[in-house]
Amino acid sequence: MGMKKVSITFSFITLLFYLTLIFSLLSFISKDRFFEILFSERTLFSIKLSMTAAFVAVLLSFIIALPAAYALSRYEFFGKNFVDLILELPMIVSPAALGAILLLFFYNNLGTWIQGNIQQFVFTFYGIILAQFTTILGITIRMIKNGFDEIPSRYENAARTLGASSFQAFRSVSLPLCRRSILSTLIFAWAKAVGEFGATITLAGTMAMRTETLPVAIFMRLSVADIQGAVVLITILLAIGLFVLFIVRQVIGGKSNASN
């Protein structure tokens, strides 16, 4: 058997492995029970909470990530390497540890002051947003930076000599050229935020109908042996994930503008 056949076989083994796991869920639930749990008030609350918190977290991370990614891509500055390194923090530290870092922060002097005078984060909706934001910020900056890296600075230089200020060159040239990359990053970050569990449960806790995001709800239902409830929620997460992957592939399906 040649290399081609061997490698293709392994790719199908991978597909079979995941499909087996997914379809094994079906044996745990009936059709009637599935829709009953899906449209229950508690499940709908979890879906709404997860999506809303993820949307706000993505929005906040985008506000910071766009200029930060641009700076990392275009400029040389003191401490750049350290900034670049710290972006990997959410990827190398386990989400539970990240949540614990956040939780402990709110028990030091500054954190206590913030909780008392600005906003309560621990065990609240805002805690969910903060946990998701902390998890996705690094990857959002990294992915948008990669997008800017693909846009040669010669386009901005040309724009500058044609009368555009640095901001106008960014807005009229780099940003449109990078739009596909930015959009796919945001969609991906949103899906990652929706599925975030470790940091969320550590900082926001497991309060039913209050901080019960989809992943937290799965955990809570499994912990009381509500297998059918957990399966429905897992299916929803899977559906969201696959839908997002499909959309991202559609968005970045063509080559970027700059590469043509």
């Binding site: 386009y155 230089n157 040309a158 000599t161 009368g163 200020s165 640095s166 009229s172 449109p176």
Partner: protein, 361 residues
């Protein structure tokens, strides 16, 4: 008018030293040099895309050094043209209109530019679907629409076929004269420089070796590096063996021949290099006893569509092996001598005024 005074800069280990350039209104100054000599760095510094170590840059008498690129009012067409791939041809051309109110061309002038450059029929095309020549014309149009009086061109035609190049050179010259634009252009293409330039500067290893009116630089190279950029030459090492009033005698050992050359400031025993332009050598002069005449044998004949080239071996050559012998290359344009055969005896003569002599360092 663009004037550069004593511009120096560094880029890594490479340095540009003490560059002085003048581009009068409506003139084209060509910076001629090989790859890696700093031509693009100079243009980028003038455009404000690179910082300089020292020097002054004047545009229309105003020192613009330290200004942002958008406040210099200097258009720059880089070698890769940098056309915006997300905008169609029309939007690329009209891009400068988004920002400048004072210098922008009128709609009538823009229509004129589009007509001059023959891009009326491709205005709605995507940049991705343009040919090389079309892209060049769009890039030029965009630069002209900006309304700037100074245009920097970085080898804009280097990737084009010769015939297309000549067409674009003509277009560029017409539109330059029409709008009285000062152009500073860098190229390594000698023919391009000869066609477009009013003034020429020869750049070598980050320094200008010679600068002046085109004809003056091409006809009177003052340094051997200039000859290597401004034409095709035969080079021979020799020694001054005699001095006359206004000429001196140089012995070329590899040819075992003596040459009478114009004496600039040589003394006896000076080690020199003589440079003879390949297209200045006369074949089979009527009188083969005059000075600077060498008897040779034909080694090879190369034919091109523009000219013919002979590779000759001098009769009195030194050295037993062929790779020790210095060939003499002769360009000629007429077809009457095309029946040369290999080994055939040919006499060549080099007029004294067409021999350039440079003292060895």
């Amino acid at each position: 008018m663009l004037q550069i005074n004593n511009l120096s800069m560094t880029a890594g280990k490479f340095s540009i030293d003490d560059i002085n350039l003048l581009v009068p209104d409506g003139c084209c100054h060509v910076l001629l040099g090989g790859t890696g000599n700093g031509k693009t760095l100079i243009l980028e510094a003038i455009a404000g895309l690179r910082s300089i170590k020292s020097g002054e840059i004047y545009s229309d008498g105003i020192n613009i050094e330290g200004e942002f690129p958008e406040n210099r009012y200097i258009s720059y067409v880089p070698q890769d043209l940098a056309l915006f791939p997300h905008l169609n041809v029309e939007k690329n051309i009209l891009y400068p209109k988004r920002f400048k109110k004072n210098h922008i061309r009128s709609d009538e002038e823009i229509r004129e530019i589009i007509k001059y450059l023959q891009i009326e029929n491709i205005l709605h095309r995507s940049i991705k679907n343009l040919s090389g020549g079309e892209k060049q014309r769009v890039a030029l149009a965009r630069a002209f629409v900006s309304g700037n009086k100074v245009l920097l061109l970085d080898e804009p035609f280097s990737a084009l076929h010769f015939t297309l190049k000549r067409t674009l050179w003509g277009m560029l010259t017409d539109i330059q004269k029409r709008f009285n634009i000062s152009i500073l252009m860098v190229t390594h293409d000698l023919e391009e420089a000869e066609f477009l330039a009013d003034y020429v500067s020869i750049l070598y290893k980050g320094r200008i070796m010679q600068s002046g009116i085109k004809e003056e630089v091409f006809e009177n190279p003052t340094q051997i590096e200039v000859t290597k950029i401004t034409g095709h030459y035969n080079y021979f090492s020799g020694e001054v063996i005699g001095i006359n009033d206004d000429s001196c005698i140089v012995y070329i050992s590899s040819l075992d021949s003596i040459f009478s050359v114009n004496n600039i400031a040589f003394i006896k025993s000076d080690k020199v290099t003589i440079a003879i332009r390949t297209n200045k050598i006369k074949i089979n002069p009527l009188d083969d006893k005059i000075p600077n005449t060498i008897k040779c044998k034909m080694q090879n004949l190369y034919k091109t569509s523009n000219y013919n080239q002979l590779a000759l071996l001098p009769d009195k050559m030194k050295g037993e092996r062929i790779d020790e012998v210095e060939e003499i290359v002769v360009d000629f344009y007429d077809d009457k001598n095309l029946d040369f055969e290999q080994g055939q005896k040919i006499t060549i003569h080099i007029p004294i005024n067409d021999i350039y002599v440079f003292k060895n360092n």
